[in-house]
């Protein structure tokens, strides 16, 4: 009997994925598409005095905000209901009465949510790429016409087009979507950990939302703690910030889409670092979840 079986984990992952799909969670993608299209149209109607770059930045900003919000809400809600639902409906009894180690069960559930989020974020990103591409082409056509009217040379127009294309569909845009997936995965890990010892779904959701907000201040707490430590100072605030820095995830790291909106490019190395951070932290949350769940009685 193996303690950790990838094939058994895959069975639970696939079942969780099917369960969530058949709960019709993908219907929210329709809401996303309508919201995105509607808000983008509205943005363009009101932004008549903006430059093409500003318009494209506004489209991206709004779309990333929506993708990120949907992903975080989805990660928290989907993960928070999984285990309590299995306990409430007693489906957990029948699963754990088969030769299934609890670590396999938790990992399978977590990967099921991850798989579903990957598909959802990929679909949303595809739509985002379509919208950005549409607006970039429209901006290029508009700028070309304007430059021709002003009698600009072909070389000037080509340079301008090159400049505009940096705001269009790029690798950095895909990396930003990937970073959103990583952030949502990390939050799902936190929700999984809380759901293993929480007594209600509401508590899990509220606690995870609080941790999500704390996660955006974790870097500040860490900086504060490190600066105090270098000065040899200690005290209540220092200990508190140290605790925050150790226990909570640094979600500011995953806000690469903010940098993208400011015109920064995202490198593959940066994404590698993010992926490593996410894997280590998710591994830690999964290990803690298993620790809390391994002797849980039903």
């Amino acid at each position: 009997m193996t303690f950790f079986s990838p094939s058994r984990i895959w069975v639970i992952t696939a079942n969780t994925f099917t369960q969530l799909v058949r709960m019709k969670v993908f219907y929210f993608l329709i809401a996303f598409a309508i919201l995105c299209a509607g808000l983008n149209l509205l943005e363009f109607d009101t932004g008549a005095t903006e430059t093409s770059e500003q318009k494209l930045r506004s489209v991206k900003s709004l779309s990333f905000f929506i993708i990120r919000s949907f992903s975080i809400v989805f990660a928290i809600a989907a993960t928070a209901i999984l285990i309590p639902k299995d306990i409430e409906e007693r489906t957990l009894y029948t699963i754990l009465c088969k030769p299934v180690p609890r670590l396999d069960y938790l990992t399978g559930k977590f990967l099921g949510v991850f798989l579903l989020m990957s598909v959802a974020i990929a679909a949303m990103s595809l739509l985002l790429n379509g919208i950005i591409h549409y607006h970039t082409v429209a901006a290029m056509v508009e700028e070309t016409a304007r430059f021709h009217t002003a009698g600009a040379s072909e070389q000037t127009i080509a340079l301008r087009m090159q400049e505009l294309s940096r705001y269009g569909v790029t690798w950095s845009l895909q990396y930003a979507s990937l970073a959103i997936l990583m952030e949502a995965t990390l939050i799902a890990g936190v929700a999984l950990l809380i759901s293993t010892f929480s007594s209600s779904t509401l508590f899990t959701i509220v606690s995870t939302v609080v941790i999500f907000f704390i996660g955006h201040f974790q870097a500040d707490a860490r900086e504060y703690y490190l600066s105090k430590q270098s000065l040899g100072e200690s005290g209540g605030t220092t200990y508190l910030t140290q605790l925050v820095a150790i226990l909570f995830p640094d979600l500011q790291l995953f806000g690469v889409s903010d940098g993208l909106l400011k015109g920064k490019t995202i490198s593959l190395a940066q994404m590698g670092q993010l992926a490593l951070t996410m894997l280590l932290q998710c591994g830690m949350y999964l290990a803690l979840s298993w620790f809390a769940f391994r002797k849980k009685e039903f």
Binding site: T18, Y93, C97, P99, E297
Partner: protein
């Protein structure tokens, strides 16, 4: 080796700070030899489910131990040989009957052709082949009970643990489940049955344990527990009035024996219902 070996099992549930801890099971010991059908009976809240959950590793004993075919029930290994049907089983409603059996088969390590054949065999066994493509959300209580049996049996376990297997099932379904339990016994499987339906337990079990307020108060074979040593029963067919009179007189002439009751034996309401239903179906 015993299929089930529970020794001095006690389980206390800690409650809130003010309330006293609840002693759900106290010093329960029972052994089930391989191939036997054991029935644990007792009123609601007597500790049947706690004993069963400890055997399945869903609860850790406060003291004592539970072993299944020599394996500690807290270890995952012990569950390779167990098939469990919970009371009022709820499975993932989004899955069809066939997907459910396949899912549990896969969890037990079955794959490919073997899984396919086993799924078909189980669905046939519980008479759900016609409903295999329907989602469990649309199954009746009896059908859920039967799909529960199918998933419990999918990996050919040596021990079947059944918690109130006929709860909410109509008399015909109940009879079918009882027949299945008897067929498990014929196939050499060990059955651990928890129920408060005494008649059902009496019909299928070799050994019975009576649990009351967390304590196993009586245990033994059905024969031992239900026989009234000082009484004798014989049922005659086609006996004439004269013969019956002769017997009565003979007993009266005896100094020790007394006739307590005579009359026509009665069929059970359950048997009457099943016979009526069958005759209507034909």
């Amino acid at each position: 080796m015993n299929a089930v070996d529970i020794r001095n099992l006690s389980k206390t549930f800690k409650s809130s700070l003010r309330a006293k801890p609840l002693l759900a099971v106290r010093d329960v010991s029972l052994q089930i030899p391989e191939g036997q059908v054991y029935g644990l009976i007792g009123p609601n809240g007597s500790g049947k489910s706690t004993t069963m959950k400890a055997l399945l590793g869903l609860l850790a004993p406060t003291s004592g131990s539970c072993h299944v075919f020599g394996h500690d029930s807290l270890k995952v290994d012990s569950r390779k040989d167990i098939g469990f049907l919970p009371e009022n089983p709820y499975f993932h409603k989004h899955l069809t009957g066939e997907e459910t059996v396949r899912f549990f088969g896969k969890l037990c390590g079955l794959r490919g052709k073997i899984l396919k054949e086993k799924t078909k065999e189980m669905l046939d066994l519980v008479s759900l082949t016609a409903a295999k493509d329907r989602r469990l959300g649309g199954y009746s209580k009896g059908m859920l009970q039967r799909i529960g049996l199918a998933q419990a049996l999918v990996q050919d376990p040596r021990l079947i643990v059944l918690d109130e297997p006929t709860a909410g099932v109509d008399p015909i379904g109940s009879r079918e489940i009882r027949d299945l339990i008897l067929s498990f016994k014929e196939r050499g499987m060990t059955v651990f049955l928890c129920s408060h339906l005494l008649e059902q337990v009496q019909e299928v079990c070799d050994t019975v344990g009576i649990i009351f307020q967390g304590e196993l108060v009586n245990q033994g074979s059905i024969e031992e527990l239900t026989s009234i040593e000082e009484q004798t029963e014989f049922i005659l067919e086609n006996a004439s009035e004269a013969l019956l009179h002769q017997i009565t007189e003979l007993v009266k002439s005896s100094s020790d024996a007394t006739i307590l009751r005579t009359g026509k034996p009665k069929t059970t309401l359950e048997r009457l219902f099943i016979e009526t239903a069958r005759s209507r179906n034909h």
